[in-house]
Symmetry: C2
Subunit: 311 residues, 2 copies
């Protein structure tokens, strides 16, 4: 009798794992460190060892396990092949094949942001929707696109790379991807902080953030919530840039729901509402009322979505 599924979310520093019942109930979650030494060659063996230990601890028989889903931070092709995963040190690698050899049950792999989107659709704020774009606002801008209930993987494994939509062709500073003027250069947590610091350094505007040591993106958001004009203006620009980009994404995909997640989304409605306001300003007339919601699963979206790959 098949009763269990594992969901794995591989990050650059931590691997999150979850044991799920096949009905989608999260039974237990845990973490192990990501060992990126030797081009990340120990990552899959470490995962296999951790899953085997969990099986033993709970006395789960191999026949009771349906398989494991795994989210990986990089382009993942339809068959689970990863093509260069910089954060993990991986080159080309067929993750399901290698991991299955190590643990003896079926494995499916997909890109981490796409997997998080699937998680939100399955058990988070996207429940009941089949056409959803998840945007994660963190160090960068991530995206996961679900159409008709399925991940849009893309032929190069890089569907929904919305952080790298060009929103400013006149930019002279390069994005981490090598292009210029990418969405994440203006709307990520990193960007909010960089832009705020720059304006503070220019010293032309009064702000309660003047003189802060170790300024964080959260400080900027808190200052805006307290009415600081500079912080409010930085976030207004960010919301306008993101809202317009999402309107453009919707012109192409006409999804039913936009989910805003990632660390910065902890700002809640304070940030969601201006993003939605600008979205409406720029959206095609039939798409002005597209739903906007905050992500619900937080850091667990990845393990939920990974488990969902196998269910």
């Amino acid at each position: 009798m098949i009763e269990y599924v594992f969901g794995i979310d591989v990050g650059g520093t931590t691997i999150k794992a979850g044991l799920f019942a096949v009905d989608g109930t999260l039974l237990e979650k845990w973490e192990i460190p990501t060992n990126t030494a030797e081009d990340g060659r120990w990552i899959l063996p470490d995962i296999a060892q951790s899953l085997k230990a969990k099986q033993k601890e709970r006395n789960i028989q191999p026949s009771e396990i349906k398989g494991a889903g795994i989210g990986v931070p990089g382009p993942v092709l339809e068959d689970g092949t990863v093509d260069h995963c910089v954060n993990l040190g991986w080159g080309r690698k067929c993750v399901p094949e290698e991991l299955t050899k190590l643990i003896g049950f079926p494995v499916k792999a997909a890109n981490d942001a796409n997997v998080a989107a699937l998680g939100e659709v399955w058990k988070g704020s996207g429940r009941g929707f089949s056409d959803v774009l998840l945007v994660t606002i963190g160090t960068g801008i991530g995206g996961g696109l679900i159409l008709d209930g399925h991940i849009v993987t893309g032929v190069h494994g890089s569907g929904a790379e919305i952080g790298h939509i060009c929103v400013n062709p006149h930019e002279t500073v390069a994005c981490s991807c090598g292009n210029y003027g990418c969405l994440e250069q203006y709307t990520s947590a990193t960007a909010i902080l960089r832009i705020t610091k720059k304006r503070l350094e220019e010293g032309k505007e009064h702000s309660i953030l003047q003189g802060y040591e170790n300024l964080s993106t959260k400080d900027v958001i808190d200052a805006a919530k307290n009415g600081d004009a500079l912080a409010l203006d930085v976030l207004d620009h960010m919301a306008k840039t993101l809202g317009r980009a999402l309107a453009n994404c919707c012109a192409l995909t006409d999804v039913a729901l936009m989910i805003i997640g990632g660390g910065v989304s902890k700002a809640g409605l304070f940030l969601l509402e201006p993003i939605q306001k600008y979205y409406r300003m720029y959206a095609f007339h039939t798409q002005k009322n597209t739903c906007f919601r905050l992500a619900e699963l937080g850091n667990d979206a990845g393990i939920y979505g990974a488990a969902c790959l196998m269910i």
Copy 2:
């Protein structure tokens, strides 16, 4: 024995129809005028009458007909309901239901640009591809998105409305859709002509187009082919704007193939190559080598795609 399918492409002035064998062979095509009088109430009856006449002429029995597909110039929901089709005078209308009542066999309806994309994938330059974006450059900019072999209809029936991606938030002139700075304001046949005329009127640049009466978009393209600096620059700007927008579309969908169609695509490689050059300049690094092709089916893409809806 089922042997036949009809494919119908409804335009603002002409309705194109095709009789297909179920293997996809186009047996015959014809046209009837689009009667938009009385809010377009005669359009579906006219189509029904034309199909019945064809059946009679060829002595086709009802049992031999699998059905008809129909492409409509406006948003079409998954169930074939049209929600305001300005060019035809239609309000809300369930096309398959109404047309089936009139002709007695099954009908499926979809947006005309999406249907054309399906046609190109089925029998045109997209054969063998399952993830394709078709861009039609004509009076406006149309788009049809096929993912995993299926049309991306969108929850409001307006998937792939790429003509209305905002590419210039600083624009002060409104697009026909009511928004400002839409892609089609800079890259359609209409836009090429408008921008050329404006620069000619400013009179600052020498051009062989000075003094042309009834200047057409084709004149501009021909002048560019003959080395006219002004015309070349207008088309270079157009290709840059379109190439960048398509790179952004690919960041989201990561399709395998971009097909360029519509009247302006008759300019051939002369236009395709610069669009592709700029696409590569702006594309995400994994997506730089996405294929570009010219559409092959021309005005027949719509009837092919419509027939494919039923096959």
